[in-house]
């Protein structure tokens, strides 16, 4: 191999990877636009929507609750330990509240939804594709986009903000329990400090992030499921790619939303 061939080949690989990534972004954007266009056009499959509400929202509550309570507790311990270095340990209630509501609550719930819901949606739809159930839907005059994607994406968009709200409260409760039971904070003043410090924009930003993350997590699950390859390997690949893409997009969207809402 000539000396020139190695860098040229590396450059070609980089170019191919970049083009593939851009093509994927384009395909996902088109899929998102199609989904939105189908949301506003009948028919609407109510039963599938109610099932998706249960799957995405209700059944995710335990994992969201457990994630939030442990994170809130750990956050309180970290802030207390860090705060002690410059005698600021009293700010634990305020920092736990703002940390959970503005950042950790939405991001952790988003990532847990990506792990639990995106993977499940991608695997389910990919299996349906492999077993020709998607083709069967089409031959039965049912648009798979309307029947499978729209109910799930709508359920994600509507329920994840609620999960984020619940996660925020449980996270703050985790901090409260650790602070009052282990660190010696007064219960009444902890609650008062938390409530006094939090502002409406903090809560609204949390819910907006939840809605966006819910949309991303469910949309990506549906997209990779619908575009899965053949066989067990195809289903596995679709699931893996869906979780990885949804997680990255959620973190990227979090940065963009935080910049827009709090950047100034």
């Amino acid at each position: 191999m000539s000396l020139l061939a190695l860098p040229t080949s590396a450059l070609a690989s980089l170019g191919r990877a970049t083009f593939n990534a851009l093509a994927s972004i384009g395909r996902i954007a088109i899929y998102a636009a199609l989904t939105l266009s189908h949301i506003v056009r009948p028919p609407f499959y109510r039963r599938e929507f109610l099932t998706a509400l249960m799957q995405v929202g209700w059944l995710s509550l335990p994992v969201v609750g457990l994630t939030a309570i442990f994170t809130g507790g750990a956050l309180a311990l970290q802030i207390y330990a860090g705060g002690q270095r410059f005698s600021a340990e009293a700010v634990v209630p305020q920092i736990v509240a703002i940390g959970m509501v503005r950042e950790l609550g939405p991001v952790l719930v988003g990532l847990m939804i990506a792990a639990r819901v995106t993977s499940s949606i991608a695997a389910e739809i990919a299996t349906m594709k492999v077993t020709e159930q998607i083709d069967a839907l089409t031959t039965l005059s049912t648009n798979p986009m309307k029947y499978l994607t729209v109910p799930r994406v709508l359920a994600g968009f509507l329920t994840v903000p609620l999960l984020v709200g619940v996660g925020d409260i449980i996270g703050i409760m985790g901090g409260f329990l650790v602070s009052t039971e282990q660190l010696g904070f007064n219960r009444a003043s902890y609650i008062k400090n938390t409530l006094d410090f939090l502002q409406t924009p903090d809560v609204v930003s949390s819910l907006i992030k939840g809605a966006v993350f819910g949309f991303i997590a469910t949309l990506i699950g549906c997209y990779y499921g619908m575009n899965s390859g053949r066989g067990a390997q195809g289903v596995g690949g679709a699931t893996k790619n869906a979780v990885a893409t949804a997680s990255i997009l959620i973190l990227a969207a979090n940065f963009v939303l935080t910049s827009v809402m709090f950047g100034s």
Binding site: D135, T139, L140, S141, T142
Partner: protein, 248 residues
């Protein structure tokens, strides 16, 4: 009548269909035979619009299928998929009544359920199966449910994709006999793709052999054994030697 004229389809460098010409007369049962990977499923899916051909024309009663109203077009078809393709999350009767409970001609739930039960009875399934889920049924029973779903809305045209794959010989015979009976009693146009010769002899009025992306032979099932096409003869007799390459 369904007519395919010079239909071609490639996937990358793989030219699956290379200009297929085929006519399926109204009210007849056409069986397309051919080895694995010869494009039988692609041919069937091209007619339904599940795969878009690269070139050629497919018409139904003279009208180009690409220009037809999609819902109205698909409402004329019923399809039995190779693996059944039943919806796991729905009960057996809901699978059968799927089309009946949706779309422009949506029926009330009770009426749709009654029709589903009747169709399940027609394919030999007992009432106990009605409220079961597909995962609780054997392969043969799933095929029957798939068949009941294909005929539930009494379509004019029914497609069968490898109807006996994965079934034991006795169950294959039962499914073949059911398909023949149902197609005859409904007066439907049928197209079956298979490489099971017992299905061909039980189901077909006419046979077409697909090889290397082209229809090599087509004619009445009664003429098949006397045909002098070496490809057809090798295939129907299952010979390893002949013009069709076989890997050993």
């Amino acid at each position: 009548m369904i007519e395919l004229s010079r239909v071609a389809k490639s996937f990358g460098k793989n030219h699956v269909l290379r200009g297929v010409n085929l006519t399926i007369p109204r009210g007849q049962s056409m069986v397309v035979i051919g080895g694995s990977g010869t494009g039988k499923s692609v041919l069937l899916k091209s007619i339904l619009g599940l795969v878009t051909p690269d070139s050629g024309r497919i018409t139904l009663e003279g009208a180009d299928v690409r220009e037809a109203n999609r819902d109205a077009f698909l409402a004329r078809f019923g399809m039995l998929f190779q693996g059944g393709a039943l919806f796991d999350s729905l009960k057996v009767w809901e699978n059968v009544a799927f089309r009946l409970m949706r779309g422009a001609t949506k029926l009330p739930k009770d009426e749709a359920r009654a029709i589903a039960i009747e169709k399940l009875r027609r394919v030999g399934l007992k009432p106990e199966t009605v409220d079961m889920f597909p995962g609780e049924l054997s392969g043969g029973m799933q095929k029957r449910v798939g068949l009941a779903r294909a005929i539930a809305a009494e379509p004019e045209i029914i497609f069968f994709d490898e109807p006996t794959t994965g079934l034991d010989p006795i169950m294959s015979g039962v499914i073949n006999a059911l398909i023949r009976e149902i197609v005859t009693e409904m007066g439907a146009t049928a197209m079956t793709i298979t490489h099971d010769m017992s299905s061909v002899r039980a189901i077909a009025d006419r046979v077409a052999m697909l090889h290397d992306g082209l229809i090599r032979w087509t004619g009445l099932v009664s003429d098949m054994d006397q045909a002098d096409d070496p490809y057809l003869q090798q295939f129907i007799h299952g010979r390893a030697d002949g013009p069709i390459e076989s890997v050993r």
